[in-house]
């Protein structure tokens, strides 16, 4: 089935976005130039982080964040098991071991600072706080924990651009030493493939910039502008550059980001109101978290795995696309990192949740269609 009545997500690309990309292509300058620079400045303002460095993906952002955090072979990095696999792959790229930790509960499925604290060893170097589905993790508790143990806090904001940490407007990606963002196609701010690292630390920012482009001491753009053609390679870097057409697209779309998140939030509120009281369904988080989340996805909870699977199958039959996120330790590749005793809350979250359709262009009619299908399935 490829024609969903209500797809999981839907990306609207208005003509102003198309025009921005075409203008860039017509200019003939496609890599690391003025548009990337402008996009980074705009992102820095948007997120409220002194440094915003665009990269090729959220995965690349996590990899460079790990390097800029000084993580290396032999180190351990604490990562919640409820996340996309890249959160744990990135420490492995730099030779470190991901130590999987639990989340608080299916109703609050972000990293549990108490469980993280129990997993700290002399080799622990960093904690990755994932703001899953856009709901802010308890980074204040994690900040204290990291400070007490001299650890680096990395915020995985791949699903959480625009999420609010506090009532005072401070955003995800500004509490940890480093933040990693994704502009993948399903994300609140999407360009296809893309990502960003944020940091308040100039030295870390410099390191991320350097390693993003093969640790070259000057760029193609610098040389195009007439700088000396000679360059040095001062470290083993990568090609994690974003190109100009994607920066142009991001720059055009970021103007609508706040409104787009607000629409997602309004849709989630409408969902929650209409779904409240349906037997067999639980809604994670509370109104305060709904206010602070930037709403990448809208997960609901079913009684157990069998019920969730039945729920999904019946919604699929009704033309409604849903998804769920397996916990990392259930993957073949990550069984080796499953702690003795398991991760009960992460497992329960993975078993019980189902993400319903959500996008910034979703209308009330689509919400009603989903709600009525959900009510049918659970009646």
């Amino acid at each position: 089935m490829s024609e969903w009545r209500v797809p999981l997500t839907d990306i609207a690309v208005p003509e102003e976005d198309v025009r921005a990309v075409l203008d860039c292509l017509e200019s003939g300058w496609l890599t690391m130039g003025p548009r990337t620079h402008a996009f980074e400045q705009r992102l820095s303002e948007q997120v409220g982080s002194p440094h915003a460095i665009t990269v090729s993906s959220g995965t690349a952002a996590l990899h460079l964040a790990c390097l800029a955090a000084g993580i290396g072979p032999g180190d351990e990095v604490i990562v919640p098991a409820v996340t996309f696999v890249a959160s744990a792959s990135a420490p492995r790229y730099v030779g470190a071991t991901p130590v999987l930790c639990d989340v608080r509960s299916p109703l609050d499925f972000n990293i549990d600072p108490d469980d993280a604290a129990r997993r700290i060893t002399p080799r622990t170097r960093a904690i990755v706080a994932v703001h899953f589905c856009g709901y802010p993790a308890d980074v204040h508790a994690l900040r204290e924990l990291c400070d007490a143990h001299d650890l680096v806090l990395i915020e995985d904001c791949a699903q959480a651009i625009g999420a609010l940490i506090d009532g005072d407007g401070r955003q995800a990606g500004t509490i940890g030493e480093l933040g990693a963002f994704s502009f993948f196609s399903k994300k609140q701010l999407c360009v296809g493939e893309g990502g960003m690292v944020t940091t308040a630390d100039a030295a870390r920012a410099e390191r991320v910039r350097l390693l993003r482009s093969h640790a070259l001491s000057s760029s193609t753009w610098d040389r195009h502008r007439g700088h000396d053609p000679a360059y040095d390679v001062v470290d083993v870097g990568f090609n994690y550059r974003l190109d100009e057409p994607r920066a142009a697209l991001g720059l055009s779309r970021i103007e609508r980001l706040d409104a787009s998140i607000e629409r997602r939030r309004a849709t989630v509120r409408s969902y929650r109101e209409k779904l409240a009281g349906i037997d067999g369904l639980e809604l994670p988080f509370d109104e305060q978290q709904v206010t602070r989340s930037s709403h990448f996805a809208f997960p609901v909870l079913l009684a157990d795995r069998a019920e969730r699977d039945r729920f999904r199958a019946e919604l699929k039959a009704a033309g409604i696309q849903t998804t769920w996120y397996p916990a990392l330790h259930s993957f073949t590749e990550y069984e080796q990192f499953a702690p003795p005793g398991g991760l009960p809350q992460a497992q329960a979250t993975a078993d019980r949740h189902c993400a319903l359709p959500l996008s910034s262009s979703m209308d009330e009619e689509a919400v009603d269609m989903v709600v009525s299908a959900v009510a049918d399935v659970l009646s």
Binding site: I11, V21, L25, V85, S185, E193, H224, D232, L249, E333
Partner: protein, 383 residues
């Protein structure tokens, strides 16, 4: 005009896209499907057919393609990969990503600055897992000999085809000789898109491995899940995000149809450049006229016969509004590599790096501009 912050009147490269290219990107954006989908599949199929290989796998960059090629060849900690030093740093850096050690081989000569198969043969040890041949400037390295050598030793031949789409040797396209070929679609390349790359292979297992690792070793992608063909996925290895997205695939697919024509124009201009430069004293123009019809003619490299003039000649040309570049400083001389792999000495490579200049070159370059470069070069080279 000249000056440290000004744009050169004659740039090193100049990309011009056609209205149909823009149209292809616009249609993709309007479709709202931006990642790994039908356009990437169509581009991969067209590229594989044009190259004459079983598999073409689009990735985020040539660096990514090299990384996956080395991994597919089994390169891991303790292994050695023989690479030229007269290339971009990625050729060697990707070996280090795998935990391996790059072992640097000499070029044949300044007139043929591709990897020297005799030196490669001398450098093979029990720990050698692969040899990487870079087809410098679009001219074939001796992959015929290297293929025999690698087969005899049971090691993989990887081709760095960043410069050489649609180039060939003995009628076989470059990128179709080795276990895998790594192509670049970086903005200054023959087939450019911004950032992008591709891995070519005839080996079904290599292709399956690369497709898996390109997208986090996930057993299904967003597109398959959107299609309803699968509901969930497993992760079966340590993978990466090396995906190319749909707008870039659409642009590549649109441009691919004209690539042979553009390369033909590059060849005509190269022949003319070679004639003009033949009249300039004090330079070597690498490769031969006979090689031009088989080359993709990516760039026009020259070597200054006398050592010690590179900075002066480059500055003289810049004053005359002509941008040049150095393809390439020797990798083993970079500080990052001197620290990690000290004591490497490659006299021919080092001399080539100290005397090479890459001249402005692009398919729509005018004869007048070529004349200007040759004249300026004759003026600035001290007699």
């Amino acid at each position: 005009m000249a000056g440290t912050e000004s744009f050169p009147a004659l740039p090193l490269f100049d990309l011009r896209l056609q209205p149909q290219d823009l149209q292809a990107v616009a249609e993709t954006l309007r479709s709202g499907w931006l990642t790994l989908g039908p356009r990437t599949a169509a581009f991969e199929e067209a590229f594989a057919e044009q190259l004459g290989v079983r598999h073409a796998i689009a990735v985020s960059s040539c660096t990514a393609a090299l990384h996956l090629a080395y991994l597919a060849a089994g390169v891991g900690p303790g292994d050695e990969v023989i690479v030229p030093s007269f290339t971009f740093a990625a050729t060697a850096a990707a070996v280090i990503y795998c935990g391996g050690t790059p072992v640097f081989a000499e070029i044949t000569s300044r007139a043929n600055p591709n990897i020297d198969p005799d030196d490669v043969e001398r450098l093979i040890t029990d720990r050698t897992k692969a040899v990487c041949a870079v087809h410098f400037a679009g001219y074939a390295a001796a992959v015929d000999r290297l293929k025999e050598l690698c087969d005899a030793h049971g090691i993989a031949l990887i081709e760095d085809v960043a410069h050489a789409p649609s180039a060939q040797l003995h009628g076989r396209k470059l990128g179709a000789w080795g276990t895998a070929g790594a192509f670049s679609f970086f903005s200054n390349k023959v087939l450019s898109v911004g950032e992008g790359g591709l891995l070519s292979t005839n080996d079904d297992d290599v292709a399956a491995f690369v497709r898996s690792r390109r997208s986090h070793a996930m057993t299904s992608g967003t597109w398959e899940r959107h299609n309803g063909s699968t509901d969930t996925y497993d992760v079966v290895g340590l993978g990466f995000n090396y995906r190319l997205d749909e707008p870039r695939s659409a642009l590549l697919l649109s441009r691919l149809g004209r690539i042979e024509q553009e390369i033909e124009r590059r060849r005509e201009l190269t022949v003319r450049y070679r004639e003009l430069l033949g009249g300039v004293d004090g330079i070597i123009v690498p490769f031969t006229d006979e090689q031009v019809p088989d080359s993709s003619c990516y760039v026009l490299p020259i070597m200054l016969e006398r050592d010690g003039l590179q900075a002066e000649v480059s500055a003289g040309l810049r004053e005359r509004g002509i941008q040049t570049s150095i393809f390439y400083p020797s990798i083993h001389r970079f500080s990052a590599y001197r620290e990690r792999f000290p004591g490497v000495s490659l006299p021919l490579t080092e001399l080539a790096s100290r005397t090479e200049l890459t001249l402005p070159f692009y398919p729509h370059m005018s004869f007048d501009d070529q004349d200007r470069v040759a004249t300026a070069l004759a003026e600035v080279i001290p007699v």
